[in-house]
């Protein structure tokens, strides 16, 4: 009986705060400068669909769900993405996509491999289970126009890890 109680104590501790939920985004900020040579002919705007892309691993996300030991290895999670604008023009569109699965011992990862526009409110980006390290993210910005005043437009891309 005592052995069983000790087992439950360890189990409860393992499921408790010792393995807390974490998400960490690493990598440098991405600050592209559009070339004026992108407009090649007087009288024309930027080519429709013109875009710039970051490196395929501009950001790296490592995450671990909460829920202690079991959650760390098997807990289901979802990552939402949104942007918080500092100075942004709504004609500019920023997209993100997942370019690798990262690594983890158990569990897996799904969705998010196609570019999706990052909105001002949280939207589901990708999901999976168990801890996962070094998930690489690529960005793209489009919507350029000479009608948008010349300036530097800034936003912050926010990732939120949600235990399911």
């Amino acid at each position: 009986m005592r052995v069983i109680n000790i087992f439950f104590v360890f189990l409860a501790l393992a499921c408790g705060s010792s393995l807390a939920q974490t998400i960490q985004v690493t990598g440098s900020n991405w600050n592209p400068v559009i070339s004026s040579a992108s407009v090649t002919e007087a009288g024309l705007d930027y080519t429709s669909g013109a875009s710039v892309q970051s490196s395929s691993s501009q950001s790296t996300i490592s995450l671990a769900p909460g829920g202690g030991f079991l959650g760390y290895y098997f807990g289901a999670w979802r990552v939402d993405v949104r942007k918080v604008n500092t100075n942004w023009d709504n004609r500019l569109k920023i997209y993100a996509r997942r370019t690798s699965n990262g690594s983890g011992f158990f569990g897996g990862i799904q969705n998010g491999t196609s570019y999706q526009e990052i909105q001002n409110v949280d939207q589901s980006f990708f999901d999976g289970s168990g801890y996962r390290n070094n998930i690489t993210i690529q960005y793209s910005i489009s919507g350029f126009s000479v009608l948008i005043p010349v300036d530097t437009y800034s936003t912050t891309v926010m990732y939120t890890l949600i235990d399911l």
């Binding site: 109680n5 409860a12 998400i23 592209p32 007087a42 705007d45 000479v146 009608l147 010349v150």
Partner: protein, 176 residues
Amino acid sequence: MKLRALFILLFLAHATYAQTSSMGSSVTLPEIALIDIEPNNSTITLSIDAPTEAGLINTTKQLASAKWINYTSALPVGQTRSIYAQLSYGTVPSGTNLMISAGSASGGQGTYGSGAGSLNVNSSPKLFISAIGSCYTGNGSGNGHAVGYKLEVTNIANLDFNASTNVGIMFTLIDD
């Protein structure tokens, strides 16, 4: 037993957590200033017709929409550009003036400039189109500002019937 039940509850308890991390991004849009003459910069000819009636004289020769000015302008908020015109080479024949004018722009989008009216072009730069904001006029003939040319006799006594000369007109798009 109660203690074990508590542990079981702790084990089964499922809380939803949310943690956030972020990455910054900015994009810089550049200034752009492009100007073009359409359909090309080939020579146009202004030749005052000989009169058909004794005692009369034709004093003007006009070509409307002979050329079109296209431009693309990307600017910070509150700034504008202008186009100036001047002779880049040659001299207008004695006894005549060479006038040019710009029509209203169409074909693209944005804050087009306004034509400064008919002006006598010479070797000094003169304001031709003003208050250009961020815009693009469209490309090719029929887009942008039509440019009209008029050769007018100002002093018959100074005319040389055989005077023929080539002049170049240069249009310059500059920041105000």
